[in-house]
Symmetry: C3
Subunit: 210 residues, 3 copies
């Protein structure tokens, strides 16, 4: 983990955002309260757990630091009390918060890989897994083709962010600047995609061609 | 693992029950015999495998102890021979057996976490993962929204059982009493839910509100 | 890993084949280019990753050896350029290539388990996980009941191949012969199943019986 208290604080914010998106998905499937907790948890800490299991950084991060689970429980509780009418939320609140979570988790995943001495390529992949893994599990459990695999420029933003961070560190930039640069890149790409409905041309083998 | 032979025996019984539920799910999807073995296996040892991978207790438990796989193979074989007409089974046989498996796996998962020196909160989570993880993978492979996330008080029973076990150990109760107390709590909740179709109020964001 | 350069070369070929099958599945779901990369990757290295996470061989194999990821990226790139009309491919190209990948990954998984000193039974299971794990994740992400669980003799071929390899090693056959014997067994079973649409009798609990 990056050695700054405010990064840790941001990390917990990202956890809360992803927990919220899991809880809302659970609400759309009418799950019971503990089902909501389970879905919020896998969304928030699923990606980091896969990263830690693959790299051998076990026990995984949330086992030794209870704050992650506490943040998730608090988020779910707040969600039960407050989020009664999600369609009353300003429409883009959740995607924008989610974009911040994605940007931050990507950088944290890449940084954790670099700290373990893994290669730059592995760091990009670990950033991607940390950023999108939880959302993939959430969508699988709700029986949907994972949003990140076909929505506008989602995995793309994470991969670009991971590359920016890794390259910045390799050319000697300090961690704080690299963090801001990589997060900024991810956010600008993802938010632009949301704002203007951008998407990369799909690889489409389904439609007929003459 | 709890150091009593009969716990080990119960653990193998829980494995058989969960393998049976996996095999029956496979039969409902007309899988071939080795597909049935795969589905029975992930149901029976999937939860414990995730637990061990997350906590770093690798190689996972069934690699070093062949009895688990043997029990699964024997269960599947028995299932091929005997279970030709599952609708002829007394209707509640499987849910009740499953409730026992859930109760036992929850306690074993929590105990294993405590033995590794993890916190009480982590022990509850590990109990939950051990108890419901296999069923979640089974339902995913059969392309269903996991039963444990929306059925009557399933994850709930496991979480309560895990809390009972962890608290009992922390207040100094001996392991055998704690085991019975926690299993009893889980069973009473789950069986009541089955018997009277109890469920917690769903967190429902789908229906319209005036 | 078996200590022969050409095995390593074959392993990379298997990786390319499975990456191709993932990329084609992604194309059928109209994913964006980075979604295609993600799906190709989980198909190609998902099974081996699960194997390594379960046995504790972490960091998993592709983290320390960048060639696997490079092969995947090259395959996806080639796929973008060349595979515009998959229905123009000779119809059995992909299943046959896939059968080779299955045979090779099965043997490599079993060999890796034996090298770690695991039992013969665990070696067979690790061969199976390596051979079919990636395809299962691919199908889950595309929201399909995994092909390997119900298609003609797929898991079966892998299990037989794993047993052949493990038994051959245990009776003292040298690794190269055991490898060819086991791959040959897997291929003959799988290719026969493809050619003559063989399948084992399904375990069918769905249809009514008089």
């Amino acid at each position: 983990m990056i050695n700054f208290e405010w990064i840790y604080f941001f990390d917990l914010c990202g956890t809360a955002v992803f927990a919220l998106s899991g809880a809302i998905a659970a609400g759309k499937h009418r799950m019971d309260p503990f089902g909501v907790i389970v879905l919020a948890s896998v969304t928030a800490i699923g990606g980091g757990s896969i990263r830690d299991a693959l790299t051998g950084a076990t026990p995984v991060f949330w086992i030794s630091d209870p704050n992650y689970v506490i943040v998730i429980l608090a988020t779910v509780l707040a969600c039960f009390i407050l989020v009664r009418k999600p369609h009353k939320l300003p429409q883009l609140t959740l995607p924008i918060a989610d974009a911040f979570g994605l940007a931050l988790f990507t950088v944290i995943g890449a940084e954790k890989a670099l700290m373990m001495g893994l290669s730059g390529m592995s760091a990009v992949i670990m950033g991607l897994i940390t950023g999108v893994g939880g959302g993939i599990i959430r969508d699988l459990l709700c029986r949907q083709v994972p949003m990140v695999l076909r929505t506008e420029i989602y995995a793309t933003a994470s991969i670009v962010g991971g590359i920016c961070y890794t390259l910045s560190i390799e050319v000697g930039m300090d961690k704080t600047s690299a963090l801001f640069f990589a997060m900024f890149s991810t956010l600008i790409i993802r938010l632009s995609a949301i704002r203007w409905h951008l998407s990369l041309p799909a690889f489409d083998l389904k439609s007929k061609r003459p």
